[in-house]
């Protein structure tokens, strides 16, 4: 019997903490390395579509738009009726865009996002369960599903909670960034208390992203986060994703850290250590 796909939302109510970079690098880690050979689906749930930009580049993204290939926007708008269009259930396979496939069967697929996803937030009624419904029809084809979430409380956040088994929280160790953490916990608590709440949702852990172990501010921020985590019994990953100029460079090149040109192996090894710990936490 095949194991169920592990579905993980990367979320923080603060923007700019490196969610998309982390999501894409995790996807590559579990597909590109022989050690893992996993089938990974990345769902870009952010109207700013950074994960899509990182994974497929300008030309392929333009093709998606030109050829009217469905995106995550279509998932949320499939039941919307307009004078020119009646509601029609979306074929789940039609929204999957293959980014890379390896001979051993491992691959990264993407459900891309688009700017118009922001408009779905204007009329959010009865849309929150649509993504979970779609994922339930395709999850057997994957070992890991990563949802790259937008940093705001909206129907997209609820949709992510309903779809996921785990939450991974990247935290940049600096003052304003850490405040996103209690905001997120409040959001999760409110979701669990709601009638439609998914009580199986677990916090996989908090990972320090962009860490350099250098400035006093960073040390203070980490201490505060660890204190809050201990009080609430949240897991904080021992491995940290360190700050490196190679991460933005990798995004420009469309490559993960272990394939980014001139990236130091030290950075790749550190990321691999985090990926190992993450896999252990979610039972991958």
């Amino acid at each position: 019997m095949m194991d169920m796909a592990k579905c993980v939302s990367l979320i923080n109510m603060k923007g700019g903490v490196g969610k998309s970079t982390l999501a894409v690098n995790l996807a590559w880690q579990f597909t590109g390395l022989k050690k893992w050979n996993k089938r990974v689906l990345v769902i870009d749930l952010d109207p700013q579509f950074n994960a899509s930009q990182y994974l497929i580049g300008v030309q392929k993204y333009q093709q998606i738009l030109s050829n009217q290939i469905p995106t995550v926007w279509d998932v949320f708008e499939q039941m919307t009726r307009t004078p020119s269009k009646t509601s029609k259930q979306l074929n789940p396979k039609s929204v999957l865009y293959n980014v890379v496939s390896f001979p051993d069967g491992s691959r990264i697929d993407l459900i891309p996002s688009r700017l118009e996803l922001a408009y779905s937030l204007r009329n959010p009624s009865q849309k929150e369960g649509l993504l979970a419904q779609l994922v339930s029809k395709i999850e057997d084809d994957y070992d890991l599903i990563l949802l790259d979430c937008a940093p705001t409380e909206s129907v997209l956040t609820t949709a992510a909670y309903l779809t996921s088994n785990f939450i991974l929280v990247p935290v940049k160790p600096e003052y304003l960034s850490t405040i996103g953490l209690p905001l997120l916990v409040r959001s999760i608590d409110e979701f669990k208390a709601a009638p439609y709440g998914n009580n199986n949702l677990q916090l996989a852990g908090i990972v320090f992203n962009h860490a350099s172990n250098y400035s006093p501010e960073e040390k203070i921020s980490k201490t505060e986060v660890r204190r809050m985590a201990a009080k609430n019994k949240w897991y904080v990953f021992k491995s940290e994703v360190s700050y490196s100029r190679s991460y933005p460079k990798g995004a420009r090149e469309g490559e993960p850290i272990f394939r980014t040109s001139y990236a130091r192996w030290k950075q790749a090894f550190r990321f691999a250590a985090f990926a190992d710990e993450f896999a252990g936490r979610i039972g991958l």
């Binding site: 300008v58 333009q62 700017l115 420009r252």
Partner: protein
Amino acid sequence: MIEEQEMDLLLDLLKLLKKHGDKTFSSLANKLTSGEVIGNLSQILMQVSKRAEKMPRPEKERKGKQQHPIPKSLSTLEKIDPQKYGILIEFHRDLVAKRVLPSFRDIKQFATDCDLPEIYANSRQKVINPLIEALVVSPNEMVHEWIKSAKSGQQTDRSLEGWGKIIMKKKQGE
């Protein structure tokens, strides 16, 4: 009494006499002493100067300046497989001019990606010819694909301009 500098000139003239032969030497000496040549000396000197510019440099000197001679195996390919020769000679030129795979590491990475045998070289300049030699003996269709991907790799698909066109167009269209 002959001066030292005049002695040097005499020695040089003797060398030239040996090189060109006494017949040519005395023939030219007769013409130089005639009034006709002296009258047209400036014109003659200009002709001599132009001829000197057109003269090819010695083979040895040219070879010394050419830092990337074409590998022998590639030259041999010209008659056996002109199409592959054409592709590889262009690739060689692009590599030398750094239009493709501009760094040493790019070339090493390219060789690794193509699964070519390990190239032992410690500089970009030294790695070009072994790479071309490895491509000469690789299957044609693969070589074609590899070179195509190396060239396309130089064009970025991640530019701000590219994303800007997608994002701004949408906003204007609404």
